[in-house]
Amino acid sequence: MAQSAQPIKKRRGILGALALIAIAIGLYWGLVIAPPDAYQGEVQRIMYLHLPSILTAYLSYFLVFIGSGMYLWKREKRDDILAHSAAELGVLFTALTIIEGSIWGRPTWGVWWTWDARLTLTAVRSLIEDESRAASAAAVLGIIGFLDIPLIHMSVYWWRTLHQPPSILQPNKAPWENVHPSMLTALTISFVGFLLLYFYLLSLRYRFGEMRCEIKARRLARGG
């Protein structure tokens, strides 16, 4: 294990460095190069955080779904660790999405929060994870929780409330037809930065989960 731990640590370090670089470029592009939005003005720059955060949260819940399904099928501890690690990060990125949306909503909608369908479903999604549950129950809940994702995405079409329909991911239009190329570049770089950061954090959190399991097993073996 000691032999394989070093290359993994090195790869994790490279991932962390790449994440930092992408985040720095994304920040510069989003705050300096990209033009202000014609309608929302400078406040729209919050979207360079908001969209990457929610897409990263979606990815995280997809990994919870995969890890949970695999755990129920194969009963392997590593799948349970993956599901738990992805769930913790999913909650983090969902919370960030809600905070960014709330700060953006105040100058744009005039309110910090409203019981809009998409906002409420996203908040519910962040409450569907709890590390203290037993592995099987958490796995079942992780799968059920993943089913909330399409509801969140489609909620703005199904219920006409304060949250506007998507600006980028529209069904009949390519993303570059909807926004200025410089805005799309800022979003893409920012998203890449969030993805790299996500996989760096996931790798760290996964190894932490592995170590906790190892400690538990070795303590039991020692009779303590």
């Binding site: 400078e42 406040v43 905070i99 760290l204 932490f208 070795r218 303590r219």
Partner: protein, 51 residues
């Protein structure tokens, strides 16, 4: 608060929370690593005593 105030607030809070999470995760990671190292040394002592 002006438009840039809201932008600064959002970016500050988000990167602050991410930094706090990273620090907390690193602390948990290092503490687990230290516990594993302590267990390894205890196991090595046990083996030595048995011999």
């Amino acid at each position: 608060m002006g438009a840039w105030g809201f932008v600064g607030l959002a970016y500050g809070i988000v990167w602050g929370i991410i930094l706090l999470y990273l620090i907390s995760l690193k602390r948990r990671y290092n503490s687990a690593q230290a516990e594993l190292d302590a267990l390894s040394s205890m196991e090595a002592t046990d083996r030595h005593v048995k011999k």
